[in-house]
Amino acid sequence: MERGHLLNKRILFMTGKGGAGKTTLAAALAVAARDRGKRVCLVGVGQSPNLCFIFSRDIPVYVETPVEKNLTAFTLDPYKALEEYVGLQLRVETAARMILSNRLIHYFMQAAPGWRELVTLGKIWHLHQLPASGGRALKFDIIVVDAPATGHGLSFLRVPSIFMNIIRFGPMQSQTFDVQSMLTDKARTAVCVASTLEEMPVNEAMQVLETVLTPLGMGLGVVFANSVISPLFNGQGRAEYETLRADTRAMEVLAGLFPDSGASLFNAAEEREKRAVQSRDYLEILENQKHAPVIRIPHQYPGRVDLSGVKKIADIINAALDREA
């Protein structure tokens, strides 16, 4: 991690392969920062049913929605962001709406490349420097972005530099420059990566780490090893388990008691062991890389992770960050 505590940064992007638990971890990071006394804005790129589930409420598009004390959720929509941006440039919102509602322009914008990412990042830039009402202080100390899945997530972060090549001069060029400076300022911004402990997500996470550092030139935060499966037995317990298995009389007693002769009991234990081994092996790969520290998040089973689960993960994150410091 570069210069200073992760939660003292201004902007954190949470990325990772689909299904790696990005949204849950982004929410947990936001809660963790809040618990350290920060005013936090949690930004979802596009509507997220999962975020609504976690906070058990609707998070309307493009409305700063307080969901917890000092925690605001914001659903970013590129069309709304464009409308706001054009409105600010023209200083007339109705004109902006008129232009953007033109059918052909709308048609065209649906496929036009890059602008969504650019205005999305522009809005994040805007949020990060919003002043608090009345005072000079900032409205939000930290912005946590639940970014699109990798593949999409990385091209998302690459867009400002592409636009710097396309746009030769004018105010849009300097605005793009501001966004790009925000992204590559390692003191201000960091990318966090979520990965479950399986082949593909870990491969993608490793690739993301490389890409963030070199072509993107951005700073790394932490890697979340999500859903770590712990072994059923450790050390002493393992020995006791072996003793049971070797105890013929005890095994016969169990076989007599369980309708399936105890098969499911022992199958489940072996299954768990296999998963724990796999989990450990991939954890090792993540922990052997030198780019960013790893925070382990134990498997939160069973069922969906709700707000209380998110708070539990936030505590795990804060404890890990304290250890790191």
């Binding site: 689909g18 299904g19 490349p113 890059g114 091209s155 004018g170 997500p201 169990l254 008691l257 499911s264």
Partner: protein, 376 residues
Amino acid sequence: MDLARLLKEKRILICCGSGGVGKTTVSAALGLKAAMAGRKALVCTIDPARRLADSLGLECLGNSETCVNETVQSVSGVTLPGTLHAMMLDSKRTFDALIERLASTPDAAARILGNPFYQNVTTALAGSQEFSAMEKLYELSVKNEYDLIILDTPPTRHALDFLDAPKKVTAFLDARVIQWFVKPYLAAERMGFKFFNRSAKILFRILEMGTGYQTLADIADFFLIFEGMYDEFRLRAEKVAALVASSGTAFVLVTSPEFPSLAEARFFLERLESEGMEFGEILFNRVSVTPGGLPGERFAEIEKEAVEKLPEHGPVIEALCANLRLEILLAEADRRAVELFLEKTCLTGRGVRIPFFSQDVHDIAGLLRLARHLPG
């Protein structure tokens, strides 16, 4: 139609689903299954993470098809009665090849391929990967070398993006856009005309203020060269759309039993229906399943008795029981989620449940195990 029949009778299967559900792995297993049944199958994937390449143990799959029968044979000793080919789509190269094919002259093609705007947008254009995938699908289907083509769709945030992509791309390149915006803009710039479309005028004023004239000139130039190709381009897109909607093609939906993925799958089913496209089958990947012969309601009682009879093993037995209970809970949650989904989508009795294997599927052995688990 059930999966066995789809694999036997269809010419094209399109695998869709949200990211991270194991689409690529399932696509590869479907291809393997078809080859095991004697068909000549091709799996086409579009994926920067090269997941299929990993799955098939290939270091590098190019934009062309590679036969993997020998790899399967050498790794697992299994001789496939049919054939399995695999390829990884290179989106940019497919797009470039299409431009070369449709351009009226080699010079026009070269001018488009060399245009800075084209170079920057082809990879970034919303839907360009999906568009290339469909274009490649059409090309392969016309070549008519395979009994069955399985298309693994790009990893989009939303499964639905795939259906919208071709329309988006053609809309972007729409001739009317050129007619209404770009030409008047250039004409007005060159000859000092005032043009009439008020929205366009304001839009261009903002764009020019914001980006400078040269940027807009590059963009305008791109559209002008493209104009001559547009009709061909749209015709092509229409043929692709017709192929996707034809009776030889069906969609296979892949989902995990988790909520976000199921919600996505539901939207997708609705869209398929409203677009009049054929839904083939839904595959629930990585479903936890309960082992048979469970202790059932008497579990607590049995556990208590076991601990009483074997006090020296008490803690171990309790840990084993807690672990089994957890597994039952997980399996029960998955079972209910899948059933509720099928009920809500009027598909009760349908669907293929692929169990959660204790080890990742990322090699031939894993794919074979997965393929053997599929019905048919």
